[in-house]
Assembly symmetry: D2
Homo-oligomer: 351 residues x 4
């Protein structure tokens, strides 16, 4: 069974495992205050061209999102998000559990639009009884979005402009940031993204690590006492160097970018192949997620050999399915899937 | 520099790393719903003789404690703890951050006494305006305690009796449970501990794993919807099988117990050696933590080659220092430390 | 200036003030444990035909809503509400501040539909990764709704059936319950409403009291330890008898219902009069809120003598404005407003 | 039965009721944004000699304490309090329910000592792993304390100095502030108290009002967005003018101070009388609470005609009981009680 279920079905890149083995018996200070982690911070600062950034390494995405949001909001403030946003849909209300409302906006192709955000912020400011409503205190986007789409520089910059106009931070969830950077159509470098937000994450779990998210506050002093919050929320790893070591390995010579590149190229190959065989794509995702419409028969046919996720019903007896690629997949596996998909289409047409 | 700073300064037992490498490219379902994790649960159920226990694997201790407590309390309920308890002192108010007060009691040698707990519970029940005070809803102990001491079967059983009498759960934090089981003076097996509490943890971070705590609800149905809470708190690891795999490795043939045994035997050797050289021990800790009184000169002398923690001032120009052993230390390292400690004492006496 | 701004612009019915003066120097136990409050509870139980209901009196609506919701939900559970619901829009995220997400649904004319709720509940149950999403744990409606509309018996019964099918409570916010009962089109008595929900409130602030909401749990034992929660949230009034006394006054001989009746009849007169003068109503509200479309000129003309609230823009140079009646308004005041409204329309048409 | 149970057993001073009646039918804006409330703010600013203070009126004490604390702390910060403090003992963990730990210190006679506070703050600052512990973010005192004692100017000033040295606010809970100002031994005026803290309350519930606490932030801009928090916590009264009106009445010509003066003088008469009859006082309380030791027989004898509270056991067959005076008590009632107390003592001695 070849898995296209997601990009975290396997472990880590072998280089990461090798680093773990090599470092294993070196006694190292705990809680992320060790030289290896400091090296990892330096490498990330360099990659993002943010010499003074404050960087924390956490284990998982939900943890990182909710800690970041809680670190920047006051109790009566909420966070603006696309209604499809991960924090709005798939984190079991972690933001609300910290006391903050997620203020959702419709978001075509998963992307929040600056003009919509501006309207909400202006309306709140103009509201005479605004204290009866949640104060928008932060903007959350993810890049790529939940639909695999990518913000352009102009879009992100407009959002940042709006954030600045109203004096609130813009936070970019980069759980799959590598894929965004490798996407066709992406017109930003990592430093450009970094300059267009106030805080962002660089996800490792879905791109070559066992686990790990880097939380990067672009401006020093932007957040206060984050380590207290991190510890309080159970998000400070005892053997914190496990995070530093993995990030050091991936950013020492650009492995992080190469792995994302590989995943995205495989997804492109997959998209193109599906199209060639006559399949329709649900959304133009330039990253490592491919959303394709399959009939029930086609899906059944492929289920035998491949794992992939049902996404939603799509009418005319078809449904959307998601296929995710990663560094752990190979061209051979893509081609095998495409071969079988072509067969499924033929059989399906024959019926 | 040889580290006695704590038992989580190094990585994992080599068997664990080997298992990680072997499993690395096997595609595995996420979030702890995979066969490896299920095997680990079975092994733990067997080790604790609890065929129906509900078991969750989490990454860290603070996370596990606060999630467990939040899963069992209502907003107006608090948890009774020794005033030296980890949740009371060293988790940055994680329990309070979930809305619950930690109700502390003095605890000689770090151990909560059933009679003290009973008094608090009875006083609350008798209080006419009890709704103006926090309702004690749970009892928290750790075994070993923060001072390295161990509960006897009689002590734990008395606490459990009190808990049952008042209809509230008894939770045992076993971050170093292996050391408690290996301690001289411990008179309980793992199944006996398991039967004398309602929920407990089996710590892996400090005994051979990269990270990992098993949270064991002895009675099925005791907790409801724990996976929702786990996800909400960012405590559900995407690659959950990393936890299952480590626990499977340590419980497949008793490695967990052998590693703890080694650490405790090293600590005994260390305690005996310190005493032989004329050092006074601060507390009779039968587990893998040794608390010894050193003069400033003695501490300075040892600081050059060994890492260890200042604990507290002790009068007469001396202070308490903590030396922690683990599976990663060796007899040779203990003996080297003891040799230098003897030298330090001699020099110190000569002055 | 005559106020149609809301139904809480004035103090209390004179009977209430008289009762306060008479009781003022009688020493009375605090915190709602006094005989007067107990009498009020009895009167309400009788009025709702719920001999065993558990009743608490609180000061304000937001407080009551969020305390009630927090008393019944677990941390990972959310409450389903109309997207126009008071808890969703106008309580500054009080529910989220307690850690719970408000799960909103579109609601035509402000009313939640059983079939929509059922769909959400069924979808959650069917979701394979449901623990990644908030668990719907409760249904919230208000009657009248935010748009002044009223649930029919069939509608409420259908919602209750859905709630029971999925084993979650249905909570009815009756901040203006009197007005619902007095509305044309309402086909339920108070006992019928009470039987069709699990918990509801009877609002006093907007119907003759200085302040006060009764929170009624229909089934005894439905909620546990509510007084602890009440005290913890600062919602337990020291001189609790102030609440009991007011409720006793209004329910001793049906004054509560007569005051609501008066407010609703005045609103009907107002609606009819606006229509006669050629004004369009925004929504058919059978309760004490009238939503009418005014041109800017008409609004300006009336602003001089009357206070009323801008609601929203409506196109064609018109806006919706809300006029609220209460027991404190008189027929003469209604007629004065209608006279001026007729003038405004004439002037407006003349332009 | 004459009540000495507490100082909130009766309603309001008749002037307050008169004001309520007079204002009852004047339409007034809601939520504390009305001219009457603004007048009350001006009167309080004048009384405290704080021309720019930011003042909010809330209904109850627990509500006010927890809202104030939540408005000034970040999630990982706690509040330092005497272990006998109201927030530590009698608010059902309201502070913890907001996520903050109450950091308690022993407090002789109920008073927090600056040197103890300083030690805690310095120790935290010096702690190398301070982020594993709660950050002290605020100091809470009440004046009078829970034992009826009063801070001297020197004591309060020392606490303020410590607060400033460490850059955290000092909050004074003045639920019975009037009594503190009227106490023998008090050496501060209201403006002096106001200058020695950063935020304080002026309690109305226990001194002539139906309910009401004024929360005074001495420095403008010290708190941000308090009205959002107030609304979110259900602490913003719809008919907010009820609070303003009561405070205006009590501060228009010093009635607040006269009522407190009366209560304290009655308590002095009571203390002196108890002593004359040979009773021992538990603590030297110069305010309106008298703590006296009674034998069981004496207590039983008085129970028939007077209501008072059991405080704690005191050894030798005696217990401490609390008698509270208020503006609603009279000299005649005090003398009646003292007469009976003298009789009880005689009978008791005769046995």
């Amino acid at each position: 069974m070849i898995s296209f279920l997601n990009d975290y079905s396997e472990g880590a890149h072998p280089e990461v495992l090798r680093a773990l083995s090599e470092h294993n018996f070196i006694s190292t200070p705990g809680y992320g205050e060790d030289p290896v982690t400091e090296e990892a911070r330096s490498l990330l600062r360099k990659a993002a061209d943010l010499p003074d950034a404050e960087i924390h390494f956490l284990v998982g995405g939900t943890q990182t999102n909710s800690a970041c949001i809680a670190s920047l909001l006051r109790p009566w403030e909420g966070v603006i998000s696309a209604e499809t946003g991960h924090i709005a849909q798939h984190e079991t209300g972690a933001v609300e559990a910290s006391g903050h409302k997620v203020l959702t906006l419709p978001a075509p192709e998963g992307k929040l639009r600056a003009e919509d955000v501006r309207e909400v912020l202006a309306a709140h400011r103009a509201n005479e009884i605004r204290e009866h409503t949640v104060k928008p205190g932060m903007i959350y986007v993810s890049d790529p979005t939940e639909l695999g789409t990518v913000y352009t520089g102009a879009e992100l910059s407009a959002l940042h402009g709006t954030a600045r106009e109203f004096g609130i931070p813009l936070y970019l969830d980069g759980a799959r940031l590598g894929a965004a950077l490798a996407a066709k159509g992406n017109d930003m470098t990592l430093p450009e993204i970094a300059r267009n937000v106030d805080v962002f994450t660089v996800g490792g779990t879905k791109n070559g690590m066992l686990f790990g998210e880097a939380l990067v506050f672009s401006t020093p002093g932007f957040v206060r006492d984050f380590r207290y919050l991190e510890k309080q929320r159970g998000a400070m790893l005892a053997k914190g160097w496990l995070l530093g070591l993995q990030f050091r390995t991936l950013f020492a010579d650009g492995l992080y970018f190469r792995l994302a590149e590989k995943a995205v190229r495989l997804a492109e190959r997959l998209s193109a192949g599906f199209r060639e065989s006559g399949y329709e794509l649900f959304v133009e995702s330039p990253t490592n997620q491919v959303f394709v419409l399959l009939s029930d028969g086609e899906a059944r046919y492929l289920r035998g050999k491949y794992a992939f996720e049902f996404w939603e019903k799509a009418g005319e007896g078809k449904s959307v399915y998601r296929f995710v690629t990663s560094f752990a997949r190979t061209e051979e596996e893509i081609d095998a899937l495409l071969g079988d998909a072509a067969d499924a289409k033929t059989r399906s047409d024959a019926q």
